[in-house]
Amino acid sequence: MKIAIVVQRYGADINGGAELHARYVAEHLAPHADVRVLTTCARDYITWRNEWPAGTEVIGGIAVERFPVARERDVFDFRDRSAVVFNHDHTIQDELGWLDSQGPYSPSLMARVRQAADECDFLVLFSGRYHHAYHSARVAPHKAVLVPTAERDASLGLAIFPPVFRGVRAIMYNSFEEQALVHALSSNTHVPGVVVGIGSEIPAAVDPDRVRMSYGLKNPFIVYVGRIDANKGCADLFRNFLEYVDRTRRVLDLVLIGTAVLPIPAHPRIRHLGYVSDTDKFDVMAAAELLVMPSPYESLSMVALEAWALGKPVLASAKCDVLVGQCLRSNGGLYYRDTGEFSAALDTLLSDSGVAAALGDHGRRYYREHYAWPVIESKYLEMFERLRTIPPTHVMEPLPNWMARRRRSVAPAEAVVAQLPVGPSRSTPRVDNSRTTDRATVDAP
């Protein structure tokens, strides 16, 4: 079986969610299939500047073909186009212009995708919102297996995406919430789909004492791992944590791992370790009391899964349906809506070691049963086998004609997203997607 993975960026040092996801999938499918990666020369996802040389190289035993990006992103143009399509009535042509402006715009990559569609059995397309995934799906819908990594952001409400969700051969979802969103948006239940998610490279052994010594982490602490950004909920995290510290007599630090985009408050209880190695990251997580995950937008929190794999409970923001759903399904974490709940949940986890340990155990079990690599691999392979045996039953809807594409009749994307159902899903992970997910109606944040 030949599989081409098409992704916007690819590299051993790229830790972005979808890109890392693609690399893990490529490396874990490699023993089972002939895997090839088609990507761009870009390293920066903001500008798509060509930083790697075009051509083929081997990364982690996988052949990676890089193609140059023809046009860097003009951030001002992209901002203006986003304002139009997200907030105003607009045309399909506006959306296509927005997609071109977003990038990565690489005609050579698209040409290679056309060619690969004939060579390969399947094209695994990562991140549905990007230019390469959208056009690849339209080039070879009968071979396109889409990993949408869709979040509840405005771009999901664009009118150009539902036909793609309805037209690709199969969809590999990251979470039940994502699946429910895409189903509600595009009514694509006829498309074979499975909630897969992603595993992680959890080390066999961790050494919490080593990082306690090396980083001087003497006090008990909670840890946040990821980009330190307001969009990730870090501003809320700082405010909640500082209020908690002011109110409690408990000695507790907040340790931050990741690149800081947001200014970090200068407070003795907040420690920023910056970007650390994977070994250090896992050791710090193992040394922590719990992982805090304040992000309101996640299609799948890999960090939360890693914390659960290490047996650590998670304290997540209730603004993110996916995180709440994961906490509920795993029984491995608590969630908070505001400062009061943050403090109370944190107190519960810190003061009752029994609860924390039980949540951690549940999380570990959840990870082992649903996100361990053998499980992920088998889900992918089963899906490929299923697609090989069943002929495609649906076709990709063509784009509207020239006139229709220019008719100003498309609703603002924000308004479309606002109408999508909210709340975590209670469904337990399973392969078959014939049953609809049960949306939470009780206790939904």
């Binding site: 509920l328 608590l334 009061g340 709940e341 109370a344 519960t348 029994g354 039980a358 949540l359 206790d443």
Partner: protein, 402 residues
């Protein structure tokens, strides 16, 4: 002692200051359901979250939903924006501008016109238009219409600019109005929320004050028990010790201190005179006398102070804090002189205990001005033990432990 008490069917005695899991003996309180659950291996995230939210609402005291708070705030806002003092139409405009989108329509086209070079010669009739254009050079022989056209053209531009400015000003004003009303509304909502929290906190303060009061009374009861029980016990087992070398000095009686029990002889021991509790002074009446229903000053031998110090009051009291001995410090009486004359220990019973059996002691009734306690734990009255020394009725889970 605990075993002995159990044999007598009494509540096992545990030292008040004892730390650890057996502090309360067998009759410790059961854990509330939420704590029981935390100890279980199986935890339910939803259940925990429900409990957390319940705890938060309990802490807030008055549990109102956001919607209810907003309704309350709306009523308050109505009260603030009294139509008798504020123009109702203005209020209505404010209200409308807060919720409605800002009107950004262009200026009325009827008021905006353009004046071009051909405007003077335009007509709905094509023939007339043609004729005017044909005769235009003739007209220009009589006068020059260009300045007129230019003036009108400029005026049209000025009009359009003025209309645009006015529309922009109105839009901004509407936005400001909306913002002001929104801010006002939010401020009132926050004030409502804050006042509810204040109410809840004041109720909590009251509850805590009642608890503090209760604890103080309990401490007082323990102290009195200590002072009066020891000498009485000693008289049964040993001959009465000699009185202190310092002769008892009758204390100068003050009108504010009339309740010195009969038979209590004050001792002039300088040590005893110094060893007083600071906290007790604070509980006296303004004139310095103990409150009604409280124990008399101090009785007993010189070890009484040390015995009292054995009582671990969990750090609530400045125990045995020495004061400078004043010349009029009360003297201590000898326990031996006290013991025979008091068949029952003359302590003041803890007002929060169930009354002891009449044959054991006759507690002084609780003063009428004392606040009623918040539901004390019922304690079974100690049965009379004729063989043993007269034992004071101990307050629940407290006592000397010796």
């Amino acid at each position: 002692m605990a075993d002995q008490n159990q044999q007598h069917g009494r509540r096992p005695h545990f030292h008040r200051g004892r730390r650890g899991p057996d502090r309360r003996g067998n009759d410790r309180r059961h854990l509330p359901p939420q704590e029981q659950q935390t100890s279980r291996d199986h935890v339910d995230v939803e259940q925990i979250m429900r409990e957390i939210r319940a705890r938060i609402s309990q802490r807030h005291g008055i549990d109102l939903t956001t919607q209810q708070i907003q309704e309350l705030a709306a009523r308050r806002l109505e009260a603030i924006l009294d139509p008798r003092t504020v123009k109702p139409s203005l209020l209505e405009q404010l209200r409308r501008s807060a919720g409605a989108p800002v009107d950004t329509r262009p200026a009325d086209p009827a008021h905006s016109y353009s004046f071009e070079a051909t405007t003077l010669y335009e007509s709905p009739s094509g023939f007339v238009r043609f004729m005017r254009r044909l005769l235009q050079p003739v007209l220009k022989l009589f006068f020059n219409p260009n300045p007129l056209i230019q003036a009108m053209h400029t005026q049209a531009h000025i009009n359009q600019a003025a209309l645009a400015r006015e529309a922009e000003r109105e839009r901004r004003q509407a936005e400001w109005n909306g913002l002001h009303y929104e801010i006002l509304q939010r401020l009132v909502t926050e004030i409502s929320r804050a006042s509810l929290e204040t109410q809840g906190l004041s109720m909590r303060v009251e509850a805590l004050a009642a608890k503090v009061d209760f604890n103080e009374r309990r401490v007082r009861g323990i102290e009195n028990t200590q002072h009066l029980a020891r000498p009485a016990a000693r008289t049964d087992s040993a001959p009465a010790p000699q009185a202190s070398p310092v002769q008892p000095q009758p204390r100068e009686s003050t009108p504010a201190d009339p309740q010195v029990p009969e038979g209590v002889v004050r001792d002039g021991s300088p040590e005893g005179g110094r060893r007083r509790r600071r906290r007790r002074r604070g509980r006296r009446s303004p004139m310095g006398a103990p409150l009604e229903g409280q124990a008399p000053a101090v009785v007993g031998d010189p070890t009484a102070g040390a015995a009292a110090a054995d009582v671990d009051l969990e750090g609530d009291i400045d125990e045995e804090d020495d004061e400078a001995a004043s010349p009029d410090a009360p003297t201590l009486s000898s326990a031996s002189s006290l013991a025979p004359s008091i068949p029952e220990p003359a302590y003041i019973s803890d007002p929060f205990e169930s009354p002891p059996s009449p044959e054991v002691s006759t507690p002084v009734p609780l003063a009428s001005n004392e606040a009623s306690p918040p539901a004390p734990e019922p304690v079974a009255p100690a049965p009379a033990d004729p063989a043993g020394p007269p034992e004071p009725h101990e307050p629940s889970d407290s006592g000397s432990g010796t």
